[in-house]
């Protein structure tokens, strides 16, 4: 019987958690559904051919089993709340609890996206104000709050640029310039819009190779996509030359705002000549990463590009807030890229964070993010190969090549950090840095945490010299050790099945997988 603990796993020792389906006992219930006050036989309301034949195989458990299962699962995770995440490019700062509380106010949670404007004025006011905060921090004229994530924002921005060029009759503009150090979403988003990706080289320090840039910037370029600071954490000195020369060729310039945490309050992208920008609210504005979403990727544009922004948008009309949700008001709009307004629950969290910071707090945020990153840069510069000796912005990138001589890779070092209770840095990105280690401490970590982390890295490097095996086989203390990713891809098991069913398309219950 499935409720009994599997014999091959000692109870109380394993930190792993049995799949909920394997805890299922027929007839158990976690919640009661009320009786229908007025009921007719279902087959009188719906002809049989429309009815479900086979019940879904879902767990039959008690509420307490559900609570214990998911609580135990949660304890198998590292999280910002419990662990330092030096994860470059991801801005894993503290996520204030008040953000969640505000997003869960009943008046916000229960606001329906198609409700009449008069019934959601408070919500619309918050959204309007959020847009104004983004405008003031970025120097762009308008923002759309519609995109669900950074990559969704990129696609939005690219479509806006495409629509703009079409409106101008520039049908030749079909190329997008992307540096080789860019996030993978940049070229993927451009490809989704059927544009041709032209890769521009970076120098070893991550700055754009201007000669290559100028050679590739021709009249057919619709958009130049840049990350600032670049993905090596450095501020691109030639940025104003790049925007100026792009504009001279009739190209627009897009800022991948993934690294906005370094800029907010310090410098406005709009002032540097950028035309379009997305901002990852789940990074800079502290909405929880959630183990991989949801995020939000608002897109800012210059005044000239506003007509092309997606709908719906919130506008202020005297003292009333209105939703403009059709192309009637914005005939040149690129349209909608998802259902409804946007990831409002995330937007409210970000707005709450902005209110908490205020103008001084926003400035202090980027200042401290930069100082913390430079502390790590200087502290570890003799441990690894520094990619650049210039001060960094919000993150420090190193090359782990010095440890290779001991037969240890950056990946091994990253895994060993898990044993010491730290999440791993971003590794092997950017692609142009061999054995890359990208560390972004964020502004919310204390000097004590930064120092303890750096000291741990030093300790691991000592281990690499003295006893490389312990690092190469790391981690040792996590709920599982290194996993067989080749097996996962070659013999995909993507879902559970139940005990009396052969494993067809992958997926067997935990017990049988463990015995296999």
């Amino acid at each position: 019987m499935s409720a009994m603990p599997p014999k091959n796993r000692p109870v109380g020792v394993s930190r792993l958690e049995t799949l909920l389906i394997d805890q299922s006992v027929k007839g158990r219930r976690a919640m009661r559904v009320p009786e229908a006050p007025v009921a007719q036989p279902i087959d009188r309301l719906i002809p049989a051919k429309f009815l479900r034949q086979r019940k879904p195989r879902l767990p039959e458990v008690t509420e307490f089993q559900v609570v214990r299962h998911f609580t135990r699962l949660s304890t198998l995770n590292y999280s910002i709340d419990a662990n330092f995440y030096p994860l470059g490019s991801c801005t894993m700062k503290y996520n204030p609890k008040v953000n969640d509380a505000m997003a869960n106010l009943p008046g916000f949670r229960q606001a329906h996206p198609l409700a009449p404007e008069s019934t959601v004025q408070g919500l619309l006011e918050a959204m309007y104000n959020l847009e104004q905060w983004l405008v003031k921090m970025s120097g762009f004229a308008h923002f759309t709050l519609h995109p669900a994530a950074g990559a969704h924002g990129e696609f939005t921005g690219i479509l806006v640029a495409q629509a703009y060029h079409r409106a101008k009759g520039r049908l030749n503009k079909t190329k997008v310039i992307v540096p080789d150090s860019a996030h993978g979403t940049n070229p993927a988003s451009a490809a989704l819009a059927h544009l041709t990706v032209v890769t521009v080289k970076s120098q070893a320090n991550g700055h754009i190779d201007m000669a290559d840039f100028r050679a590739k910037l021709d009249d057919d370029v619709a958009l130049v996509m840049l990350t600032l600071p670049n993905t090596l954490g450095l501020f691109e000195e030639e940025i104003e030359a790049i925007t100026r020369e792009s504009h001279a060729k009739g190209a627009l310039v897009y800022l991948d705002g993934a690294n906005f945490n370094a800029l907010a309050g310090l410098i406005r992208p709009g002032d540097l000549g950028f035309d379009i920008c997305h901002i990852n609210l789940h990074k800079t504005f502290s909405t929880p990463h959630g183990g991989g979403g949801p995020g939000a990727g608002p897109v800012g544009v210059t005044k000239e590009l506003e007509p092309f922004l997606p709908v719906p948008r919130v506008v202020k009309d005297g003292d009333t807030y209105r939703v403009r949700d059709s192309k009637h008001h914005y005939p040149q709009s690129i349209g909608q890229l998802r259902s409804f307004f946007g990831n409002t629950g995330i937007l409210i969290r970000a707005y709450t964070y902005m209110l908490s910071l205020g103008e001084d707090g926003v400035k202090e945020m980027s200042r401290r993010a930069i100082i913390n990153a430079n502390y790590v840069r200087v502290r570890l510069k003799d441990v690894f190969h520094a990619v650049s000796n210039e001060p960094c912005m919000h993150e420090a990138v190193f090359s782990g090549t010095p440890i290779l001589e001991h037969g240890v890779k950056t990946l091994d070092l990253a895994k060993r950090l898990l044993d010491y209770g730290y999440y791993a840095p971003t590794i092997y990105f950017p692609l142009i840095v061999p054995e890359a280690l990208m560390i972004e401490p964020t502004e919310t970590e204390t000097p004590e945490t930064l120092e303890a982390f750096c000291a741990t890295v030093e300790e691991i490097v000592r281990e690499i010299k003295d006893n490389p095996a312990v690092v190469k086989e790391a981690p040792h203390t996590t709920p599982v050790r290194r996993l067989d990713e080749v097996k996962a891809a070659r013999e995909p098991m993507l879902r559970w099945t139940t005990a009396n069913e052969p494993a067809v398309y992958g997926g067997r219950s935990t017990e049988r997988a463990a015995r296999a």
């Binding site: 949660s74 995770n77 509380a101 959630g290 183990g291 979403g293 259902s339 050790r481 993507l494």
Partner: protein, 445 residues
């Protein structure tokens, strides 16, 4: 106060870095643009933020609402929010380091299993942004798999889903989206056949939403057999709650099934965040967009979970990736998973049946009123279209003045349905609530 702010904190760090001031760290920034005045408000203490935002939230009226139209007001047990908002789930990163992320990964594995089971499909991914963008991703799979350019889309597809398809594919001359008429609320078989013939050999996929935007159930099997005969893929769009009682896409041979998971565990929250569900037959496994979690073993032979089949994704394949999507909606998927675990197979069926019964009671009572009638005769789930006497905007407004949000006037999206309301009833409504709606509509002269 979110960052270390003792007087020594910054001073000591600058000293350790070896600079006299912060300005030495930012010399590469163009000085004339540095440190602009932003014109932002001053910081607010938490007590003031809470007061201010609570006041804004309270400005939103909370009428007795029968508005659904793709965002449904369901009850979620307290355990769902309490568990999903645990910091260990909420503040974890994408599980790229699986050894430190087994909790998140196992939740994804259970989520994928539940989605596949509910849709009756072989496999599912770790989720996409929402139902509409999931449909766009499914269309992309169909275009690429068949190497054909035409997508047939019913007129009764949720208009926002249609708009999303138009935006994703409208700018490229390679693709064509063709509307199939739904004059009686569901796909017209004759028009479907005509559109298939008119695009002979070019139809990549046929989209079937059931229940559709009007709440009506489609005859999925008949449509699927027509589509398959033409060599097209069948893309189903379904509300997962409805599938507690309604035949799931897997029972009528759909190739890909998508939907929005919002009805199972997520608040309407002015449109998001929701969770896009994506399930398919196993033959499309390597063409699925987005993150996928798989079961494997560690070096000691212990069962564990990893993100897998990543060779499809943008961080590996860049412009050759099968989608630009990076994230999933993991915390929303976590809500969905816990909510569905609470329901179980019987709870899902009972909840679906309760919705269906309440909606049918409301429809029957409303359609007895003089001048009111149900617009379509097809079977429906928890939403239906009601034709009302007189000017629909005036009716809607007068009911709102009585504290009742009587669904959605359809003429915004369907100009010909200019006297029609789309009305949704969920388990959050009692018989008394429905009777109040009926009596209010009846009181209008």
């Amino acid at each position: 106060m979110f960052q270390p702010n003792a007087p020594s904190d910054e001073k000591d760090l600058l000293k350790a870095i070896g600079v006299a001031s912060f300005d030495e760290l930012i010399r590469r920034l163009p000085a004339r643009h540095v440190n602009p005045g932003l014109g932002l408000a001053n910081e607010m203490p938490e007590v003031e933020i809470t007061r201010y935002l609570s006041e804004l939230a309270a400005k939103n009226a909370q009428p007795l609402s029968f508005l659904g139209a793709g965002a449904y007001d369901h009850f979620s047990p307290a355990a769902v929010g309490a568990l999903a908002l645990r910091g260990e789930f909420a503040t974890a990163y994408t599980p790229y380091q699986p050894e430190a992320s087994q909790g998140t990964l196992q939740v994804i594995f259970e989520f994928q299993s539940m989605v596949a089971e509910i849709f009756g499909m072989d496999i599912a991914n770790a989720s996409l942004y929402d139902g509409a963008s999931a449909l766009a991703e499914a269309a992309l799979v169909a275009f690429r798999h068949t190497d054909r350019p035409v997508l047939l889309v019913p007129d009764a597809l949720h208009p926002h889903y249609r708009r999303t398809l138009d935006t994703y594919f409208g700018s490229a001359a390679d693709f064509k989206i063709v509307t199939v008429a739904c004059p009686r609320g569901t796909i017209d078989a004759g028009d479907l056949a005509a559109k298939i013939n008119a695009n002979d050999g070019n139809v990549a996929g046929v989209v079937v939403q059931t229940p559709n935007f009007f709440g009506c159930l489609e005859d999925g099997a008949a449509i699927a057999s027509a589509a398959h005969a033409a060599g097209a893929l069948v893309i189903a769009v379904s509300n997962p709650l409805a599938l507690g009682v309604v035949a799931p896409p897997g029972e009528w041979d759909a190739d890909i099934a998508v939907g929005d998971g919002q009805p199972l565990g997520l608040p309407v929250s002015f449109g998001g965040p929701y969770v896009g569900l994506f399930a398919c037959k196993k033959e499309f496994m390597r063409k699925m967009p987005g993150r996928i979690c798989g079961q494997t073993v560690d070096v000691d032979g212990k069962t564990g979970y990893v993100l897998t089949l990543q060779a499809r994704e943008q961080h590996i394949r860049r412009e050759k990736a099968n989608s630009n999507i990076c994230t999933n909606q993991n915390l929303c998927a976590t809500h969905f998973t816990i909510h569905t675990a609470m329901l179980g197979p019987e709870g899902l069926r009972e909840l679906a049946e309760l919705n269906l019964q309440l909606a049918h009671y409301a429809a029957e009572q409303l359609s007895k009123l003089p001048g009111c009638k149900l617009s379509f005769e097809t079977p429906y789930f928890n939403e239906f279209v009601l034709e009302v006497p007189g000017d629909v905007d005036a009716v809607h407004k007068r009911l709102l003045d009585l504290g009742i949000l009587a669904g959605l006037p359809l003429k915004t999206f369907y100009p010909k349905l200019d006297r029609h309301l789309l009305i949704n009833v969920t388990e959050r409504k009692t018989k008394a609530d429905i009777d109040r709606l009926v009596s209010a509509v009846g009181s209008l002269k």
